[in-house]
């Protein structure tokens, strides 16, 4: 019997001693950047199709574009990349790009105007989700032969259907869909006329700072540096982005020095790491806005006094400083800060007396009953509850409906809600991306079905504002264009049935050895090629 006991004890000891073979400790190699992130949203790496945050982070480092943002100076706006220069015709419809000489794809093929022509035509013809970023200029599968043309080995001409602000067109070309692919290589991998769409899902054919090493879905992505990158070989020879969904796990890895950057720390973990030596927390503004909107089909909400009152019944500061701390900052206009034409006016704050007075003027001194619909995401539900509380102080009884994305979006798109609470993220780095949805509704009838436009979804009929907003799209003077957006936003702030509340902040923990990590702000995605250690 005794032997038995010993046996059990011994086995236990052996097993528990196993871990004592201590793990080699832990500083990442100097030429390698290791990032923990959440990359399970990536469905494809094809620039003509990719439309997710993590996808654009990868794409930006692999594919060069005609014009691009300089990570060391994002405020400057777009600048030359694979196109060295461009000219615009007098009627504003034709832009002629001159390609940069001597740039090579990862395959060794030279980057020519033919590749640019192929890439842009391909994005239009494939007609995947982000294709509207290009087709809004009048390009279609039928006309690309005439509208996107390489007129010489190094000159590309694009012709839009009417005059647009050059800044609008070029801003759109900096989006992921503007990535220039290696036409020879891609066509070698074409299957059944798919223009290489299947192959480019998990292979890459770019000319950028990095090429794809491997992509294991939901596990990791490895980028390998391109020593022939035209801006010089990147200091980080390998970049590994590992999928780690748990914030506390990311934090532990960062504290142990097993990773260099943690992209998804929650507020508690941010607070935890910020006091640690050797770790720095960066806060960067992103493009996502959190807003509530009031359906104008609802008779009560169609009263401008009621809407104004409700804008005074939101506890912006209280939310920002409590459960949204470090994640959102107060922002009250439809262009995210850092966008061309953005304003920083914040006319509204919680003011219950004023709201009550406005409600009384509107004929609802004792409030009314109303419903809010919201998706089942923690921060949104929290905001909904805060609204329920503050609206209640003026006698407005709120009924919150929480549902899945499909349910809530279904109701919203069908214009059957009272109040919608949700987020909006810009699709491409031009002010029109938000202006065209918050401030354009050219046909307010149900049959029009303009479900892509938030103004239509809220049945807000604005013929004049739509016209003004569309005029800003063709204004060629960049400063003038910015001023136009300033004015539209102030008007919008005053009388629209939208209360924009917050803009997203992203907090990133990094080892203090990592320098020049630029996540791209609200405008673009991360740039690994400038990082040093």
């Amino acid at each position: 019997m005794r032997k038995l006991t010993y046996l059990a004890l011994l086995t236990g000891l052996v097993i528990s001693a196993g871990p004592m073979i201590s793990a080699a400790q832990a500083e990442t190699p100097a030429n390698m950047l290791i990032v923990a992130g959440q990359i399970d949203d990536i469905t494809t790496l094809d620039p003509a199709q990719s439309f997710e945050f993590s996808g654009s982070d990868i794409s930006r480092n692999i594919y060069g574009k005609l014009v691009n943002f300089d990570p060391s100076n994002l405020d400057a706006g777009y600048g030359p990349d694979l196109a060295e220069s461009w000219t615009v015709s007098d009627d504003g419809k034709i832009i002629t790009f001159t390609m940069r000489e001597g740039v090579k794809f990862h395959s060794g093929n030279p980057v020519t105007a033919k590749d640019a022509e192929y890439s842009l035509r391909r994005a239009v013809i494939l007609n995947k989700t982000p294709s509207f970023i290009l087709t809004q200029f009048g390009f279609s599968a039928d006309n690309v032969k005439d509208t996107i043309v390489a007129t010489g080995p190094m000159t590309l001409q694009i012709t839009t259907d009417r005059r647009y602000a050059t800044s609008f067109v070029l801003n759109c070309l900096t989006a992921t869909i503007g990535g220039i692919v290696d036409s020879k290589l891609v066509m070698e991998h074409e299957v059944d006329g798919d223009m290489g769409n299947t192959w480019l899902r998990n292979n890459t054919a770019g000319s950028g700072a990095y090429k794809l090493g491997s992509w294991k879905a939901n596990e990791s992505i490895t980028l390998i540096s391109n020593p022939d990158f035209y801006l010089g070989a990147p200091a980080m020879e390998r970049v590994v982005v590992r999928h780690i969904s748990e914030s506390s796990t990311q934090r532990l890895l960062l504290e142990k020095g097993d990773i260099d950057v943690a992209r998804n720390l929650n507020p508690e973990d941010v607070a935890g790491v910020s006091s640690k030596a050797g770790i720095v927390v960066d806060s960067e503004l992103r493009g996502r806005l959190m807003y509530v909107s009031f359906n104008q089909k609802n008779e009560i909400l169609a009263n401008p006094k009621v809407v104004e009152a409700m804008k005074y019944l939101i506890d912006y500061k209280g939310m920002q400083d409590s459960f949204l701390k470090g994640q959102y900052t107060i922002h009250q206009s439809f262009l995210p800060r850092t966008y061309l034409g953005a304003i920083d006016d914040k006319p509204y704050s919680l003011n219950i007396d004023k709201a009550k007075a406005l409600l009384a003027e509107a004929g609802y001194p004792n409030g009314f009953e109303v419903g809010i619909i919201v998706r089942e995401a923690q921060e949104r539900v929290d905001i909904g509850q805060s609204l329920q509380n503050t609206f209640g102080k003026a006698g407005i009884k709120v009924d919150i409906t929480v549902g899945t994305a499909k349910q809530i979006l279904g109701v919203y798109r069908a214009r059957q809600h009272d109040i919608y609470l949700g987020a909006w993220g810009p699709d491409y780095p031009d002010p029109n991306t938000n202006a065209a949805t918050f401030a354009v509704n050219q046909d307010n009838r149900d049959e029009a079905g303009l479900t892509g436009q938030l103004a239509w979804r809220n049945s807000w009929d604005i013929p004049q504002m739509s016209e003004d907003t569309l005029a800003a799209v063709v204004e060629n003077d960049r400063d003038m264009r910015a001023k136009m957006y300033n004015a539209i936003q102030r008007d919008h702030q005053n009388r629209s049935p939208f209360a924009v509340m917050f803009q997203k902040i992203e907090q990133t923990g990094r080892s203090d050895k990592v320098k020049n990590l630029n996540l791209g702000g609200a405008i673009t995605a991360v740039s690994y090629w400038v990082v040093t250690k």
Partner: protein, 352 residues
């Protein structure tokens, strides 16, 4: 465990026929089980309020793009027709393409399943090596402090949320003491070095003779495996104890003792031999449970296994991936059933 123990029937038929009949029966049971499994998963998946099209094209897609994707998925056809198409593809070994990762589901599963297999096997091994002796000792020393300690150990293993235990384990053994590797299967700079043969890094690195990587992989797997091992230990030791107690009260034990056999012989030769068959069932069940993939452990330890694969696929309505995963898990159950059935025959003289 529906397939097990089809013994003792048809004794008067010739052995060859008997064998055919049995194999046939087993095959039919497997087929019906798998069909039922697929049927239920398929329909649950289709009535879920998540839109697979939206998860591919995104909520900003235009109507035309949405429609095109809708048609290309065959969602316009009646459910039952979709189901039969799916069955036909599966029979040809084609699980379809994952909507979420864009890779063929079979390839995804070949990538994620070995990770789970490796973890679950080591976990079960730990569970057996410690759990069985612990259960035996607890039964033999019933009522003494040893029994009480064993009970507390099992109770803790049973009742502690694995999520919490995992985080604390990481914090202590990785964060503070630095005895083990962090989350993930390897340190990141060791990845993609040994050639993939089985997909199980411990085995692959051993086959390759790369002991540095083997060691590194071991430091990464030992903590999550111990955690799962602890969990299955709790179950195995409790079951062992109760099986043992049942036997220890039997008359043959008294006979054996009266015959003057040593206590060791009584316990191991006679009593333990008699509980082997029951134990196999318990261990197989617990092993199968771990092979389904323990989602929480996989998430905390960033372990790319089948549990988190199926879960994230389910959340994004990626039904091809969910169904593929379900088939694999179903197959694992069936195989373990057959395997434990074989073991019964080996250990139980009556089954021969």
């Amino acid at each position: 465990m529906a397939i097990a123990s089809e013994t003792g029937k048809g004794r008067h038929q010739p052995p060859f026929l008997l064998f055919l009949l049995k194999t046939g029966k087993t095959l039919v049971t497997i087929a019906v089980t798998m069909l039922g499994l697929l049927f239920v998963t398929f329909f649950i998946g289709r009535v879920m309020p998540v839109d697979p099209v939206l998860s591919i094209v995104g909520e900003r897609a235009t109507k035309e793009i949405y429609e095109a994707a809708y048609l290309s998925l065959g969602l316009d056809k009646p459910l039952i027709v979709q189901f039969f198409y799916y069955l036909r593809d599966i029979l040809q070994g084609d699980f379809g393409t994952s909507l979420r990762t864009g890779f063929p589901v079979s390839g995804d599963i070949i990538r994620v399943f070995p990770a789970t297999l490796e973890l679950a096997s080591l976990g079960t091994l730990i569970g057996i090596v410690i759990g069985v002796p612990l259960g035996v000792v607890a039964a033999v020393k019933r009522g003494t402090w040893i029994d009480q300690v064993a009970r507390v150990i099992a109770l803790i293993g049973y009742s502690m949320p694995i999520f919490w235990l995992g985080l604390i384990g990481l914090l202590v053994f990785y964060g503070i003491l630095g005895w083990v590797g962090g989350p993930g299967r390897l340190d990141i700079y060791y990845e993609d070095i040994v050639p993939t043969v089985t997909g199980m890094i411990l085995l692959d690195s051993a086959l390759d003779g790369n002991w540095v990587i083997f060691r590194n992989a071991f430091t990464h797997i030992i903590l999550p495996a111990s955690l799962l091992g602890y969990y299955s230990l709790a179950y195995i030791s409790r079951m062992t104890r109760s099986f043992m107690l049942e036997q220890l009260n039997a008359e043959y034990v008294i006979t054996a003792r009266v015959k003057g056999l040593s206590e060791r012989e009584v316990i191991w030769k006679h009593v333990f031999s008699n509980i082997k068959v029951q134990l196999i069932t318990v261990i197989a069940l617990s092993y199968a449970g771990l092979l389904e993939g323990s989602v929480l452990t996989e998430i905390i330890f960033a372990w790319p296994g089948i549990g988190s694969y199926i879960t994230t696929s389910l959340l994004s309505a990626d039904m091809n991936a969910v169904m593929g995963g379900t088939v694999v898990v179903g197959l694992v159950f069936v195989c373990l059933n057959i395997f434990s059935d074989l073991l019964y025959r080996f250990f139980d003289p009556r089954a021969k």
